[in-house]
C-alpha cells in the first residue's frame, strides 16, 4: 500500500474508485475493490486509517494492547493487513476532502494544510462516500463549560491520545455509544458516577425479531453492561443532565427524571459532583459532499437525514456510492458489510450472500435502535433563555425563540439568517439538530455546507491543477 501524504494527482490517470473516509466502511470497500482488481485512492482526513470507530494511538505511544480500548479490534487488524499488502490502493492520509465535482472522471478536492500549495485534486471514475458521522448534541444550561465534552470526543481522545478529561466523569445523553464510552472510561481508570440515558430502552422491546437476528449486538451490549456492573456504574434510564454547574469548569450536574416526551419531572432533580461530563445523543450522518450535488436523502427514525441508496449502495447520482453511517447510522458491522457490497457493485460483480444477509439484519437493528433513541419533543424544556444553543456564535435560546415567535422564522435557515446560529466555525454541526427543533420547520432536509471543511483562501484562489 503506497502512502502518499502530499503527492499531487497531476498527470496521473484517474483511479477506478476514490473512497472518501478510511473507517470501517471505507476500509472494507477499498480493500475489497482493490482485491477485485480496481485501482483505488483511499482519502482520509486522519493520520492513520480506522476512522473514529477504530481510532487508535500513534505508533510512537508504543501501545502493546490497543485492542483493550476496542470492540472488534481483530477485524480492523485484518483489514489493515490486507490494506498494507495491497499495491492497488494509494492511501492518501491527512486529506480533508472539501468538495466533490461530478463528471467523467469525478474530481475530489482536498486540503492538506494551511499553505497555498497544500491542495490536491484526485480524479476517479467512481466515488464512494464513507465519511461516517458526527455526534448529535442537545444543549442544556452549562454545556459550554470546560470539562463538558462529547461522549465520542472523550472516546476519541482516550483511544488516540490515552488521556481523560477528568477523574470523575458523568456520561449522559442517549444511544448505545454512551455504554461503550462509559465502559472505556472506567476501564481506563476514571470513576463514572452515573450513565444518564434519556431513552427508556423500552423501544427495543418492539423489535423482538430484529433483536433475535442480531445476537452479536446483544452480546456487545452485555459486555459493556458487565464492565459497568463490575465498576458499580449505575445506568439511569429516562433521565437527563439538565444543567452543568461551575464557573470556569464543570464541578457538578443536575440530573432529572424525564417523562415519555423527555420533559423533566419536577421534584426529581438531584445533584451529582463530577469534574467532567461526556454527552451525546447519537450520531448524524456526514453527507454534505453528496447532498451539495443533489443526492437524494431519506429521514431515519431517529430524525437524522441520511443518503438514500439502492440495494447496491448506489446513491441517486450515477457514479456516486455510499456505505456505512452516511446511509443511516448503524454501527461498524453494518458499515463493513455495506463497504464490501459497494465494492462488488462498483466492480460490477455479484454481491456475496454473507454480506447481503449481514446488511439486512444489521440495518433492521439500526432502524430499531434509531427509533428507541429518537429525542423526545420535550427536551427543549431544559433550555433557559440564556443557554447558548450555537456554541460558535454564542447565540442563546432566547434569541432563537425570539426569531421564531416574534420575527416569524419558520425554519432553521431563516433562524440562521436572523441570529447567526449555525453560521460559525462548525457550520451548524453542533447546534443544527437543536436549532431545527426550536425553529419547528421541516427537519427532513440535509444541512447545506458548500465546503465540507474550512479551506484556506489561498488554496481556492490558486487555479486548479
Amino acid at each position: 500500500m503506497p502512502t502518499l501524504p502530499s503527492e499531487p494527482a497531476r498527470g496521473r490517470a484517474p483511479y477506478d474508485l476514490a473512497v472518501v473516509g478510511a473507517g470501517p466502511a471505507g476500509l472494507a470497500a477499498a480493500v475489497t475493490a482493490a482485491e477485485l482488481g480496481l485501482r483505488v485512492a483511499l482519502l482520509d482526513a486522519g493520520p492513520r486509517v480506522g476512522g473514529q470507530y477504530y481510532r487508535h494511538p500513534a505508533p510512537e505511544l508504543g501501545a502493546a494492547r490497543p485492542d483493550r480500548l476496542h470492540h472488534g479490534w481483530a477485524v480492523f487488524a485484518r483489514l489493515r493487513d490486507r490494506l498494507r499488502a495491497q499495491p492497488r490502493i494509494d492511501h492518501l492520509a491527512g486529506h480533508h476532502v472539501w468538495a466533490a465535482e461530478r463528471g467523467e472522471p469525478w474530481r475530489l478536492h482536498a486540503t492538506l494544510g494551511p499553505d497555498a500549495g497544500d491542495r490536491v485534486t484526485v480524479e476517479a471514475g467512481a466515488v464512494l462516500l464513507a465519511t461516517g458521522a458526527y455526534e448529535r448534541q442537545l444543549p442544556f444550561p452549562g454545556w459550554t463549560l470546560p470539562g463538558v465534552v462529547t461522549a465520542g470526543g472523550a472516546q476519541a481522545m482516550l483511544k488516540a491520545g490515552l488521556v481523560l478529561p477528568g477523574r470523575r466523569i458523568v456520561v449522559a445523553g442517549s444511544g448505545p455509544l454512551l455504554l461503550a464510552a462509559a465502559s472505556s472510561l472506567v476501564s481506563a481508570g476514571a470513576a463514572v458516577p452515573a450513565v444518564v440515558e434519556a431513552g427508556s430502552y423500552l423501544g427495543y422491546a418492539r423489535g423482538v425479531a430484529a433483536l433475535a437476528a442480531n445476537p452479536a449486538k446483544l452480546v456487545e451490549g452485555a459486555q459493556h453492561g458487565t464492565v459497568l456492573l463490575r465498576h458499580g456504574v449505575r445506568l439511569r434510564r429516562s433521565s437527563a443532565v439538565i444543567e452543568a454547574h461551575g464557573t470556569d469548569r464543570v464541578t457538578a450536574v443536575t440530573v432529572a427524571r424525564l417523562d415519555a416526551d423527555w420533559r423533566p419531572v419536577p421534584g426529581t432533580e438531584r445533584r451529582i459532583g463530577c469534574d467532567a461530563v461526556a454527552i451525546g445523543h447519537g450520531l448524524v450522518p456526514q453527507i454534505e459532499l453528496a447532498t451539495e450535488l443533489g443526492a437524494a436523502t431519506r429521514t431515519v427514525p431517529d430524525g437524522t437525514v441520511a443518503l438514500a441508496v439502492d440495494g447496491e449502495q448506489r446513491t441517486s447520482l450515477p457514479g456516486l456510492w455510499a456505505a456505512g453511517e452516511t446511509c443511516g447510522v448503524g454501527g461498524a458491522d453494518l458499515a463493513l458489510a455495506e463497504g464490501v457490497l459497494a465494492a462488488y457493485a462498483v466492480a460490477g460483480r455479484p454481491a456475496p450472500r454473507g454480506a447481503l444477509v449481514r446488511r439486512r439484519r444489521r440495518r433492521a437493528f439500526a432502524e430499531l435502535m434509531a427509533a428507541a433513541h429518537a429525542p423526545g419533543v420535550g427536551w427543549t424544556d431544559w433550555l433557559t433563555p440564556e443557554t447558548d444553543v450555537c456554541r460558535c456564535e454564542e447565540v442563546p435560546a432566547g434569541r432563537i425563540r425570539e426569531a421564531v415567535e416574534e420575527l416569524g422564522a419558520g425554519d432553521a435557515r431563516t433562524v440562521k439568517l436572523l441570529t447567526r446560529a449555525g453560521m460559525g466555525w462548525c457550520q451548524g454541526r453542533m447546534c443544527g439538530a437543536a436549532v431545527a427543533c426550536l425553529a419547528g420547520g421541516p427537519t427532513d432536509r440535509p444541512d447545506s455546507r458548500p465546503l465540507s471543511c474550512p479551506v484556506p483562501l489561498a488554496q481556492l484562489a490558486e487555479p486548479p491543477a
Binding site: 482526513a45 473514529q52 510512537e60 483493550r68 459550554t144 470526543g153 491520545g161 462548525c426
Partner: protein, 104 residues
Amino acid sequence: MGRNPLDLVGAEPGPARTFTFDGRPVPALPGQTIAAALWADGVLAWRTTRVGGRPRGAFCGIGACFDCLATVNGRPNQRTCLLPAEAGDTVTTQEGHGHADLAV
C-alpha cells in the same frame, strides 16, 4: 485492568517532549495532540470566546466543533485536537478570533 489509560493499553512511549502553554512548559508524549497533552496536564480551556469571553477547550475531539482552537507558533485558529504536539511549540490561549493584531 489498568488504572490509567497508558497502563490499560500497555503503552511504552518514548521520552516526552516539551512545548509551552502560555509560557509554561507542558510535557507531551510522542504522538499526542496538543489537546491531549493539555488534558493530561489538567488543562481544559485554552480559548476565550469572541462575544462573552468565556473559556473553552476540546469538545468533540475529532476536529468537527472548532472549540479547541488555540494560537500555535503564532498562527491562530489551530484545531489542537488534530495537531500533534511538537517539541518547542509555542501554544497560547486564543482570545476571541485570535486576530487582535489586525484590529483598527
